[in-house]
Subunit: 272 residues, 2 copies
């Protein structure tokens, strides 16, 4: 990053995407990545190739309403918020820039994140919903939401979440702090949705989908809520465990300290 | 309809669909129709060809959360609600059966409808929403919702809606009674949605999309609410008028007299 360039500025771009047709966030040899499509659109606006870094990867089929991507340039001469519209003009309809703010040169979207919030959506109705099928896991059988809530409460706080990590990842530590884990129900077409909202200081590979899978096991009555105490203590991924499908998962927001922003929040009212 | 067959029974099936990839409700030479896909699925369940009749047509790209389709058979030996799951097993993911009730043999889904309710969804935010793009009309510029509401109130009641009918239709009368026309706002991703909910005893061709287009003109300040009085009085489609795009429109429900049902409402709780 040419920090000796006096015109060099760094930006944190908030984006949303429908992950259905993508191979995930990260650029890779097989399949189209969101990172690639986004960097090409930003490069088009800036007139030079650009490297963008996300707050973390999302897997194939996972959606986002508040992913954050950072990039630097000396080519942009306007305020940060003005770039949003320009970028959207070059993006396909399933990716959108929502907001852009200028950040300090040392901004690191992964390391500087205080916390992230994900939502996992379950459709719980005897009949499917054709208008939401790409955004939820459909479970026809009625789930016991009270038991799911009791289970969820056991995961709040600082724990070693190794048993909720899909194998193959290489993180130094599997200790994470879950700040919030709420199980809500909302009315939906001919039934209801169960929303699992989770905020933590960081997430292991597949952690949210594995937690959602475990809560569904409890909701089905296969295990009682206290089963999760044993799962946490075991510190290994159980063969009984389920990983919830990608399409129900959405990255809702990433929280950063206010001190990293060097502008005021952009005006998000309805101006063009 | 072989009403002399003592085993003959008639059913009213409530269905939902994502209209995106269809050429509309009605079977036609070009493009795949929802009516066709649905009748083939029901035929598969019953073991004989079946003719289904909808409460009305929806155009290409229009969605439904409560379309009603009627069919008759002597092949079904169980209660009406039991057929829902069987039909869903043969439907593609973008069409779903929600509920089925047995109705009198003379049931006519078009003529017997007391009223229908449609919703038109406008996304009103400076940035697009990639997760809802197929289900709304995106208008970046802030609309004046108070004026839209004032305009909407002028359309409630019995009027000749000829000026809201797209040419080419051949209805006997263009007088309709609008029972409800509400303009609501709801929070959405980085902005808001404006929901136009309309209930009437019947609708002319493109009537909801033409009303939505007119209310948007008022919301943009091109005309004041009282312009609609003049539009109604003119009784002809104005060249200034806009037809809102199909993807924002959804048929929410069709209301029938209770006396046409010969069973109790099916249990829509979460049973499999």
């Amino acid at each position: 990053m040419p920090t000796d360039d006096p015109l060099w500025r760094c930006f944190a771009l908030k984006i949303a995407y429908d992950g259905t047709r993508y191979a995930g966030w990260q650029i890779q040899p097989n399949g189209l990545a969101i990172q690639q499509v986004l960097s090409e659109s930003i490069a088009h606006v800036l007139g030079h190739p650009v490297s963008i870094q996300g707050s973390g990867r999302t897997d194939a089929g996972v959606h986002a309403r508040g992913q954050v991507a950072a990039f630097g340039t000396s080519a942009w001469k306007h305020t940060a918020d003005k770039i949003v519209r320009a970028i959207n003009q070059h993006l396909p309809k399933d990716i959108a820039a929502l907001e852009c703010r200028e950040v300090i040169g040392a901004f690191d979207p992964i390391r500087n994140a205080i916390s992230k919030t994900y939502r996992y959506t379950i459709r719980n109705s005897s009949v499917p919903d054709p208008l939401g099928q790409l955004y939820h896991w459909w479970i026809p059988r009625e789930l016991d939401v009270q038991s799911m809530r009791a289970g969820a409460s056991k995961l709040i706080g600082t724990h070693d979440f190794k048993s909720f990590e899909t194998l193959g990842s290489t993180r130094k530590t599997s200790v994470r702090t879950v700040y919030k884990l709420e199980v809500q129900t909302v009315e939906a077409l001919a039934g209801r949705e169960i929303l699992i909202e989770i905020q933590a200081d960081g997430f292991l590979y597949n952690m949210v989908r594995n937690i959602a899978g475990a809560l569904v096991q409890i909701g089905k009555g296969r295990f009682g809520p206290s089963w999760l105490d044993a799962v946490i203590d075991s510190k290994e991924r159980d063969s009984e465990s389920q990983t919830a499908p990608a399409r129900g998962l959405c990255l809702m927001s990433v929280q950063y300290p206010d001190s990293l922003y060097i502008d005021l929040p952009s005006d998000r009212s309805n101006k063009t």
